[in-house]
Symmetry: C2
Subunit: 414 residues, 2 copies
C-alpha cells in the first residue's frame, strides 16, 4: 500500500520553514503498514499543485496533503481541490457551529473571513479540527484516497492520529507492522555495528535493522512488516539477544527519552531530583518538566549565568570560583552539593561549561563542560570535551547528565 | 531561474530523518536569486530517481540532488546518474589522493570499498569534498545544470557555499529576490488579515504576501522576485504602511525571535534580566540562553516546582501560597519581585500555572497561567487561559512573557 505526501506553501520553498510534517506523517504511516513512496513540496500555485496531485495519484493509492488551508488569500488548496474534482464549495453546518463556539470562547464574533473556513468541497467528508479553525477534507476518488489537512503541526497530528490513520487502516485492511527500538548512548554507530555483527548476520531475513544516530545517542530499530503474534514474540527474543551484546550501552527502549527514563526510576524508588544549571541554561530542567507528572519527583533548579547566583543560592564559595574558575571540577561539585542540601533532594545534577561560540580559552576551549552529581553518599564530577556548536553542546550535556544520573541511581559501573 | 531539490534516501521516506537539507539549500538559493520550484524526496530506487530527475529537468534549469553517495550497497545515486547520462565511471586522481590522506590521518589504509568513492561519471566535473569522503558531481546537460552532493549536511553545506552557489551565480546572471518579514504576536491570522485588507488589496502585483502562523505568533512575509534597488525601497515603504495598521501587534522583523528581541533591547539599555519559573519549568531560561552572548544581560533563574523553592529562594511567604494558591496573582508578583531583589536585576519575569495534563481544578483549569513582571517602579501580573496541551502551554507562556517584558521595556501600552 503506497502513499505520497504533498506539502504546500511558499514558506517551504524559500526555506523559511523546515518541513517537519512529512517525517512525522511518514513515521505514523509506516507504523500502520503504509509505505511512503514520495514526498513533494510545492508552492501555493494551483496549476503546480494539480499537476503533482495527478502525478502522485498515478503512483500511489493514498495522497496526503498539508498546508494552504488558512483563511487568507494566499491559501489556495481548497479552491484548487474544488477545481480538480469539478465541484463547488458548500458550508458545513457543524464547522460553522464549531467556529462560532471557538471564537465566542475567545470573546470574538465569527467574521466573514472566518466563516469561509466552514466551506468545503461538496464531494468531501470533513475531518473536523479540534485544535484549530480549518477542517480537513477526505476525498474518495476512483478507489483512491486524498486527504487535505492544515499545515499547523498539532492540528494535523490530531487529525492523523484520531481520524486519518484509523480510517485508512480499516479501509485498506493493512498488514501488521511491528517495531522494537533499542536506545543506546555513549557509543558510536560503527562500534555498535561491530559488536552486533554476530547477531545481525543471523537475523531472519524478514526482520530489518536500521541504525539511527542523533546527537548523543544511536537508536537501533528492528522492524517486521507483515507481522503476526508469533513474529512479534520472535522480535522480542531478538531484542533480548542484542541486549546480551550491547547491554551496557542501552538506556531504554522505543519511545523512551533520557528524561523519561530517569523520571520512571525516581518514581519507582520514591526519590527526588534538583538541578543547578549553568552552561545548559535551563535546558535540563525544561526536558525534565516536559514530562507530564514530573512534579512527583522534580523539586526545582537554579540557573546561574552570573557567578553571584552560584554563591547566593548554592553557597559555592567565591574563593573556589576565583581559584579554580567557574568551569571546574570543584565548582561543579559545589553546585550539585549546594542545590541538593538547600532543596533537600535525593539527587542533584549540576553543569558548568563553555557552550560557545564565545568564552573559550586555550586551557578551557569552547565545548569544555563539567557535570556534577550529588546523591546519597556520592559526590562526583566528570569532564567532557564537546564541539563548537552552542545548541549541540547544550543538548549533549543534558543527555550526558541524565546518563550519569541513571547509572548512579541503578548503581551501574561507569 | 528555477531550481529543484531532490533528496534521496529510505531514511527520509520512513520518517527516521527529517530533511533539513532542502530548507537550508532553499534559503541559500533564494538569497542568490534562484527560485526553488519543487522539493522531492525519493527512496534509494534507481528507476524512481531517474523518473523524478527527468520530471525536474522538464520544469527547471537547475536540479540539485543530495544523498545516496556513501560507500555501501544501498547508495545508488552515482550508478543511476551514470546510466542516465549513458557514461561510465572513471577514477579521479585528486579524489584518490585526498582519500589516501584522509584515511592516513585517521591511521587507516584506503580500502577497496572506499577507493570506489573516487570513481565518478566520465562526463562530470568533480566538486571536491573537504569535509568527507564522497565527492560531489557537477553535470552540464543540454543547457541545464545537475549537481549531486552527499546528504551529510556539513559536507553539502561547504560544497554549496564554496563552489555550487558561486558557480551558478556566475553562470546564470540571476535576478535579485527581496523579502521582508513582519512578526506579530497576540493576534490571530484572520483578524490580522481583516486589519490589513485596505493595504493588502492595494499591494502592487509584483509583491506577494504570505501569512505564516505558528505557536503564539503570525509572521507576514512580503516578497519581491526580480527585485532591484528601487523595488527594495518600495518593499520597505509597504512594510511601513502595514505597520500603521497593525503596529501594536508587531514585535519584530525578519529573523527576530522573542528572546532575541528582548536580548537586543536589554543590551541597548544596558539592563539585566532574572527569571523565576514555575509552570514553564526552565523553558524561558533555555530560550534566553540559546542566544549567543546572553550572558551580557541574563543573570540567572530559579525553577520552583515544589513550593518550598519559592519560599527558600525567593522569599515568597508560605501564608500567601496557602491563602491564594501557588497559581495566583499574588504569588506571580512575589516570585518576580523576589528573584529581582535577590539577584539585583533590572527586570524579572515569573510564571506560575497549570501546564497540564493533570493538576487542573474547576477554579483553575489546565491552561491557567499567571505571568509576573517586576522592574523599575513596576510590579504587575497578568492572567492567561491557554489550552490543554502541556508543551504548547509552556511555549505560549514563554512567548507571552517575552511580549510583556518587551512592552514594559519600551514603555508601550498593553
Amino acid at each position: 500500500m503506497n502513499c505520497e505526501i504533498i506539502t504546500i506553501g511558499d514558506e517551504l520553498l524559500i526555506g523559511q520553514v523546515i518541513d517537519t510534517n512529512s517525517a512525522w506523517m511518514a513515521t505514523r504511516l509506516n507504523e500502520a503498514g503504509i509505505r511512503v513512496k514520495q514526498m513533494t513540496s510545492v508552492s501555493d500555485d494551483p496549476e503546480h499543485i494539480t499537476k503533482e496531485l495527478k502525478a502522485a495519484l498515478n503512483r500511489s493509492a493514498i495522497v496526503l496533503i498539508t498546508g494552504g488551508l488558512g483563511p487568507t488569500k494566499d491559501d489556495l488548496t481548497k479552491d484548487t481541490l474544488c477545481r480538480f474534482f469539478n465541484t463547488t464549495l458548500v458550508e458545513d453546518p457543524k464547522v460553522v457551529h464549531d467556529l462560532t463556539v471557538y471564537f465566542k470562547s475567545r470573546g470574538r464574533e465569527l467574521t466573514e473571513t472566518n466563516r469561509k473556513q466552514a466551506e468545503i468541497p461538496a464531494n468531501c467528508t470533513p475531518v473536523y479540527n479540534k485544535n484549530g479553525t480549518a477542517p480537513g477534507m477526505w476525498f474518495d476518488f476512483e478507489g483512491k484516497v486524498i486527504v487535505s489537512m492544515p499545515g499547523v503541526p498539532y492540528e494535523m497530528k490530531a487529525m492523523m492520529d484520531e481520524i486519518v490513520i484509523p480510517k485508512l487502516s480499516s479501509l485498506f485492511r493493512l498488514p501488521k507492522v511491528s517495531h522494537q527500538t533499542i536506545i543506546t548512548t555513549g557509543v558510536g554507530e560503527s562500534f555498535l555495528s561491530d559488536l552486533l555483527e554476530p547477531w545481525e548476520t543471523r537475523l531472519p531475513p524478514y526482520f530489518k535493522l536500521a541504525y539511527l544516530p542523533s546527537t548523543g545517542m544511536v537508536r537501533l530499530r528492528l522492524s517486521c512488516y507483515q507481522s503476526n503474534d508469533s513474529l512479534e514474540v520472535q522480535l522480542m527474543e531478538e531484542v533480548k539477544k542484542a541486549k546480551l551484546l550491547i547491554g551496557k550501552y542501552i538506556y531504554g527502549y522505543n519511545d523512551d527519552t533520557p528524561e523519561k527514563i530517569v523520571g520512571k526510576l525516581l518514581i519507582e524508588k520514591n526519590q527526588t531530583l534538583a538541578v543547578a544549571e549553568s552552561c545548559t541554561g535551563g535546558y535540563i530542567s525544561h526536558l525534565i518538566t516536559s514530562v507530564p507528572g514530573s512534579s512527583t519527583y522534580y523539586i526545582g533548579s537554579t540557573i546561574s549565568y552570573a557567578n553571584e547566583v552560584k554563591t547566593r543560592f548554592l553557597g559555592v564559595s567565591q574563593e573556589v570560583i576565583a581559584d579554580k574558575g567557574a568551569v571546574s571540577e570543584e565548582v561543579a561539585k559545589a553546585m550539585a552539593e549546594g542545590v541538593r542540601s538547600t532543596l533537600g533532594s535525593t539527587w542533584a545534577l549540576s553543569t558548568t561549561g563553555i557552550a560557545g561560540p564565545g568564552g573559550g580559552t586555550a586551557d578551557k576551549p569552547v565545548g569544555t563542560v563539567w557535570i556534577g552529581l550529588a546523591g546519597p553518599n556520592v559526590l562526583i564530577a566528570k569532564k567532557f570535551q564537546f564541539g563548537n556548536d552552542r545548541l549541540r553542546n547544550i543538548q549533549i550535556t543534558a543527555i550526558s547528565a541524565f546518563t550519569m544520573l541513571r547509572k548512579e541511581i541503578l548503581g551501574l559501573p561507569d
